[in-house]
Symmetry: C2
Subunit: 361 residues, 2 copies
């Protein structure tokens, strides 16, 4: 049986050398060897994040890191402003509601619409003393790249902590965390980094850390103050998912070998190739852009043409061995999504485009 080609926005295909590195025998999680592995992961990720902030690797998915951000910052009196234009933006709002429903302001744009800076500005001005602003950088559910730099500036103007979900942008797109003024940035392992799912990483500025330190109601498993304390010994506070650390280290070695500049260029080129092909087939792209938004460079969201159904489209692709993603929740049946993340090459993109051509033309 031919292996299925995963062109969904995570889990992405994992290179054989990474799978092999993962199957290394267990080691002591409090020993020197683990310490070196953890340190190498953290140092490499800091370069990829372009940050001088602290960074921790969590044994949990991107959602775990999103909750770590909110849960550590939410002290029940903190005003949280959640900007959303898709499923993952909404998720920040849902998490914030669990922690301090009374102090959450959501700034919602329709799924697939761009973020309007003027609206964000007004919301920040109307919310007395906003302590935290959250946004998703690359909104995977709609295929849009949101204006991180611009929103970072607005957050700084209000002296608010800026939390940016970069789960599907870091490692595949340009995300200068410090330059964008991001206090807390998050990446997932199974997206542009090309590692298996189950891990995430989170960077934390000093300003954000001070707020966390003062918060006595931090979550326990994802307590970032405990993470910082343990990092002094090159350890994690609780038993780390060792095989995923082994795999992530190898995935980061692959990234270092390619170089981030080339890697970003490849991601942009492949996403552009998908956009060019699908519009050439007469299909239309889903998200609407404005002057501060862009098409995602890691996942392309496409309207399902009227003459096709989701089942016929994705089913047809599946028959040809190519897995693409459907729309989520309210976009189910309306769009489909092709990811170009991680260590995907022209070869896989061409195979995807060929399969799509057979299905839609």
């Amino acid at each position: 049986m031919k292996e299925e080609l995963l062109m969904i926005p995570g889990p992405v295909p994992v290179l054989p050398r990474i799978l092999e590195a993962m199957s290394k025998p267990m080691i002591r999680h409090r020993g020197d060897e683990f310490g070196r592995i953890y340190e190498e992961i953290v140092e490499t990720l800091k370069e990829i994040f372009q940050t001088r902030n602290d960074l921790f690797a969590l044994s949990g998915s991107g959602t775990c890191a999103m909750e770590a951000a909110i849960g550590n910052l939410a002290d029940k009196k903190t005003g949280i402003v959640c900007i959303a234009n898709g499923k993952f933006g909404d998720r920040f709002g849902e998490i914030a509601d669990r922690y301090e429903a009374d102090a959450v302001t959501t700034v919602n744009f329709a799924w697939g619409s761009p973020i309007e800076l003027e609206t964000v500005k007004e919301a920040l001005e109307n919310r007395p003393n906003p302590k935290v602003v959250t946004m998703v950088h690359n909104e995977t559910s709609t295929g849009i790249l949101n204006p991180a730099k611009e929103v970072g500036k607005l957050a700084r103007k209000h002296d608010a902590i800026f939390v940016l979900d970069c789960i599907t942008s870091i490692g595949g797109d340009e995300v200068p965390v410090d330059e964008f003024g991001v206090d807390v940035a998050i990446v997932g392992s199974q997206k542009c980094l090309g590692a298996p799912p189950g891990m995430s990483a989170i960077s934390v500025s000093e300003k954000a850390f001070d707020l966390m330190l003062a918060n006595k109601k931090r979550p326990y498993y994802m307590d970032l103050v405990a993470y910082k304390k343990s990092f002094g010994k090159k350890q994690t506070p609780y038993t780390p998912a060792l095989p995923l650390f082994f795999a992530l280290r190898e995935a980061l070695a692959v990234i270092r070998e390619e170089g981030m500049e080339k890697r970003i260029e490849r991601h942009r080129m492949l996403a552009k190739a998908v956009r060019t092909a699908v519009t050439g087939f007469g299909l239309s792209l889903f998200p609407e852009l404005n002057e501060v938004s862009e098409y995602s460079n890691t996942v392309t969201a496409i309207n399902i043409p009227r003459e096709l159904t989701d089942e016929r489209l994705r089913g047809g692709m599946r028959k040809r061995g190519v897995m693409v993603a459907g729309g989520q929740e309210k976009l189910k049946g309306k769009i489909f999504r092709i990811a170009t993340m991680g260590n995907i090459t022209e070869k896989e993109v061409l195979r995807t485009i060929e399969a799509l051509e057979q299905v839609v033309i």
Copy 2:
């Protein structure tokens, strides 16, 4: 270089066939294949837990599952009684404090002392309306097996939810979850189940689930109501750590092949062999027992003799390629611990005993 023999209480050595199963290429986490894997894991674990309750596999360590138990049950008005006689018992208290400090009663016994039922009984009678009772079954930090059945009876008498950390007992010792009256039971992947670290599983009774459902402040990543809803589709609410699921499935296949009866017998026999050997060398076992406590059948805690130091003892073992664990926190330098968990055989235990003989005699 000779591979280090891990005789610490997790991560345990992982069989090559499990490592190999783990390095399978990625699959869609919303597809049928994943659904079958997840279902197989859940069904096998239910048999091992001897439970008819719901059971979920979490992409997070045992501590994650401990927090899932407390976080889902703690509705800020729930009285929680935490019984502790070691580090992991204390951990339940620490987690409970994060969620509802005002309503936590701790029933503390010295680390290494047995749990006195009379004291627990009094605490339950003095705590008005205790909703939740927590205990650790096999207290890894001190090498004692606590009276689950008896405390289960006391909890039931007060109509309280009984949460039992079986992280290091299930899979290696007899833990009939339903018979013991355990509403929420937890196991870790990297202990007696013989899988790599990074996963845990949690069983939830209907009574416990009803309390969770009514709690609007549940944590998000470890929201067990979301887990139950997703399980209807044989999915997890957030991206699962796929390689760890592949590994756990294989580890459970190993357990089915051996059979739980034989497996428990092997664990008991190996722990007994360690106890016999160390007392034969003139060393003394750390925990004190009473009529309702036993020595742990999965980890043996031993006093470091006066003429040796922790560094000389464990360093000496390490030089001989055998990793044993030290004491934790207040027991640092006072005890050392030898685990006999997972797929360990007589061979590894003999090697450990031989190395120990050379170091202590």
